[in-house]
Symmetry: C3
Amino acid sequence: MMVCTALVFFMHTGFAFLEIGLTRQKNTINILFKNIFIITIGLLMYYIGGFNLMYPGEFNGFLGFSGFGLGTDAAGLTAEYANGGYTYWTDFLFQGMFAATAATIVSGAVAERVKLGPFMIFTILYVGLVYPIVGSWQWGGGFLSTLGGDEAGFYDFAGSTLVHSVGGWAALVAVWLLGPRIGKFSEEGKINAIPGHNIPLATGGVLILWLGWFGFNGGSVLSADPAATSLVLVTTSLAAAAGGLSAFVVSTLAYKNYDLTMFLNGILGGLVGITAGADQMSPNEAVLIGLIAGAIIVGAVALVDRLRLDDPVGAIAVHLICGVWGTLAVGIFGAKAGIDQFLYQLAGVAAAGIFCIASALLILIILKKTVGIRVSREEEMEGLDLHEHGMDAYADFRMNQH
Amino acid sequence: MMVCTALVFFMHTGFAFLEIGLTRQKNTINILFKNIFIITIGLLMYYIGGFNLMYPGEFNGFLGFSGFGLGTDAAGLTAEYANGGYTYWTDFLFQGMFAATAATIVSGAVAERVKLGPFMIFTILYVGLVYPIVGSWQWGGGFLSTLGGDEAGFYDFAGSTLVHSVGGWAALVAVWLLGPRIGKFSEEGKINAIPGHNIPLATGGVLILWLGWFGFNGGSVLSADPAATSLVLVTTSLAAAAGGLSAFVVSTLAYKNYDLTMFLNGILGGLVGITAGADQMSPNEAVLIGLIAGAIIVGAVALVDRLRLDDPVGAIAVHLICGVWGTLAVGIFGAKAGIDQFLYQLAGVAAAGIFCIASALLILIILKKTVGIRVSREEEMEGLDLHEHGMDAYADFRMNQH
Amino acid sequence: MMVCTALVFFMHTGFAFLEIGLTRQKNTINILFKNIFIITIGLLMYYIGGFNLMYPGEFNGFLGFSGFGLGTDAAGLTAEYANGGYTYWTDFLFQGMFAATAATIVSGAVAERVKLGPFMIFTILYVGLVYPIVGSWQWGGGFLSTLGGDEAGFYDFAGSTLVHSVGGWAALVAVWLLGPRIGKFSEEGKINAIPGHNIPLATGGVLILWLGWFGFNGGSVLSADPAATSLVLVTTSLAAAAGGLSAFVVSTLAYKNYDLTMFLNGILGGLVGITAGADQMSPNEAVLIGLIAGAIIVGAVALVDRLRLDDPVGAIAVHLICGVWGTLAVGIFGAKAGIDQFLYQLAGVAAAGIFCIASALLILIILKKTVGIRVSREEEMEGLDLHEHGMDAYADFRMNQH
């Protein structure tokens, strides 16, 4: 579990590299700053209150809170941990490393035009309140976990819905409220690709994320049972590989071009897709879920563009759409498949969606009406690094105008 | 074992960074694409058939196959795993992460001029068939493992021959069939260095590979015996350090220049060299094997150039020549040293070499005669990224003509 | 423990990325070369004699040596390891990965103007002799560990003093003897920022260091006790997050600028600050130590500049000043707090400081008077890569004059 925690922490490096790699050089410092802020504040917010909001002990199933800080209910919790092969502290840290992920997903979607200060406020509220409340509905023993009575309910192994779509819904809302980057869509409706500036880092980022998923899904077994954990690692890796290959083949057929970015997003789509049911699937089913996720990615990226939503890193396609797919897949494939389970899954997707959309709208509209959420046209053109940070990410290199 | 599997997976990031770092910017996307393809298809091929080709259970010692997919013989295998401290699934994934390595080694040697499609076909065949068949001869209990009767035979702890030279022989064949990059050798016989474009990534790649070797060699103990595993990590690290320092000193004496690339390749040479006998050597012997490997690297790189073979990353020197050295070293140093063992080692090197050369020749000559294996002169000059991917790895940076 | 060893090894990648990221492109190869040399020679020196100098068994408390190489006292040591959950070999490797860190810290401070050859000699002496002698005073059971009798004494859990300040004192001495880089301080007393050339790598480096600290502090528990180890990971991570946020807030208030470098150095300051007492602090105390460390960083960086000391990466602020802070904090907060303990801590800081300053002065003044320690003005202007290595870190990119 402690190793898994370290790997999940390392995912933040992957997210940062992926996000800067797929965006422009002039906004690099800004993106790194956002990401570092998310990691540090996310962990502190989870320490201050998030953990006890997510795991409130006995509660009404919708909202509960067992106090600030750590260890308040430690005595009661210790018994639970005694058989689990991990400790209260490990549990906190592992979950705390997850928490920030939701905001990191949003960060990628709003990159290159969001105002830093308001985004930091959004992060504090979303990671500190929204994420743990949704999490409590299932992992904290809330109403989603008992939809079908004591024995059955919504199932989300490691967070296709509770982590990825929680970030994805907010990304969708934020992208819609912010509007596209200047130049992304021309007035005649043409879609212009804005190429990323450092594809090696983006690729490294995806490989680091895959590595981190070993910890993310592996650690979610929440025990050291070697058979269960190792099967989860196999389903996770096979879905990733299948997702990548599927996105590569579909996009090559569609666009007659070996598109590396699509390949990479296909891998991530496969990983997000398997996350809800990584412990419920056979290897063959994992491959199938990955293959479908990869095809979904190609279609979803095109759809998001068609809707004139500007998502520089493909966060909506990867985390929201494949998150939904993975959640529903638990009702279609694997040990839990069945019409009842499918409906539970649908209910979970809907409950999280409604609450996240409403929360994100509330927070972001208030911010938009008061301090504003988008940088000035001049700042966007010249780059956020110069304006907000007075720094250049690559001081010694000559750059193209862009 | 699961942690080791994660570390071995991470090696692919190291290989990718090393390969792009030592080549030119204009071919970066292409190289990343190749590497990502190798990882994903390698895992899937190993899942579909490779694992059961490599570990066929009882077989004739040369070729056996226990069926497609996983778990067909799980019942029989479980007994074996019960005492080993790891599971069937872990074993598959750990081995599957290895499998792709053989093609990655070739990838580095053929970089900057190989056609992507044919290389993908080569990868499927070589990783799906050649690698597991050679592996079955030893790790699957085949004829190499019993050369000297039931109690003695060829020994290759973690794959100096079975992984590294399997990749290395194909690299040699491919480089010879492809010919050098335009400009590498002038008509008067002059050798021109073609500098890599991102040495920080190359250096990071080597450090990641060293890290991954902890998993590669550590995990090959195939048990959680702490004394054995930890000694393997010590011999591995000492050989790496000695290899690097030796290559640095020898190359500084030879060329009056602090050559970072040689230092890095010396580290890799030390790692490849210790791989066959990491559990058989004392720390002092590990240092000695590393020192010799480092010196070999300096000579081998010069020799490959002299033969007018163009290997942009030094894969032949590192993986083939140091792979052979490490394999033979098991007969010279350590617990198994002796003339009989030396001959077994020689037989293993020869058997793998003959089969790999023949297979690689067969596959690549057919590809060359049909679809061709080399890109056009125009594409090579302008870069593979533009032609095959329509993308630039560093869109915002200005580049030198090259 | 073996996983922790791997993570600590990976820290060297973090140090290398951080150091090159914060310096200029023209000296990148040189810095990478230094770092790779430090890793390899550090491990070998520790193998040859360092380990037995640091853990001499029974000795006079100031200086002892139990022989060259490994395993000389293995029989005696085995008993000790039997209950510890790790082996003699693991212990050596884990400690050996630490050893090189002291020189790496110096490397960052002297970057961009130190002569490579003399720096290599300094590294051999400092890592081979000074570091293990100081370490023996405490971790080897020497006089610092028994300052207050058998039951009490100096306390330094994972090396705020024994690792970080040992490097930090030498960095201070070296920076003072070397003088600033050309252009850092104008004659009228103006301080010129010399921007780093690759901030994404620097940021990735800090995240890798944080990851490595999981191994550094986690492994220093020297047992597999899950409760103790996991609490250490929690205090370590909270201090890191608090340090970063504190440095960000303080520097934003002071300079009206979102300064990413300060944020990153604040994280490192928090990590160094918690290192001496990571197992003695509650989570709240860890947050407090981190918050103070972050504020210290902002002040210390300004102070070092004011003293016209040129430390390109902030090594003195991070490793020396926060190392001292973390060491003293053990006497102020946590389970050991008290006036006696505070005095023991002060004594430890002073003893290490005096010995390290004296040793560094001795080594560096001799080198300065004989072979010289600084490159020529011409070499510094044109870059060390060209002069000492004949290589360019980014061959295909166009560069600004700088």
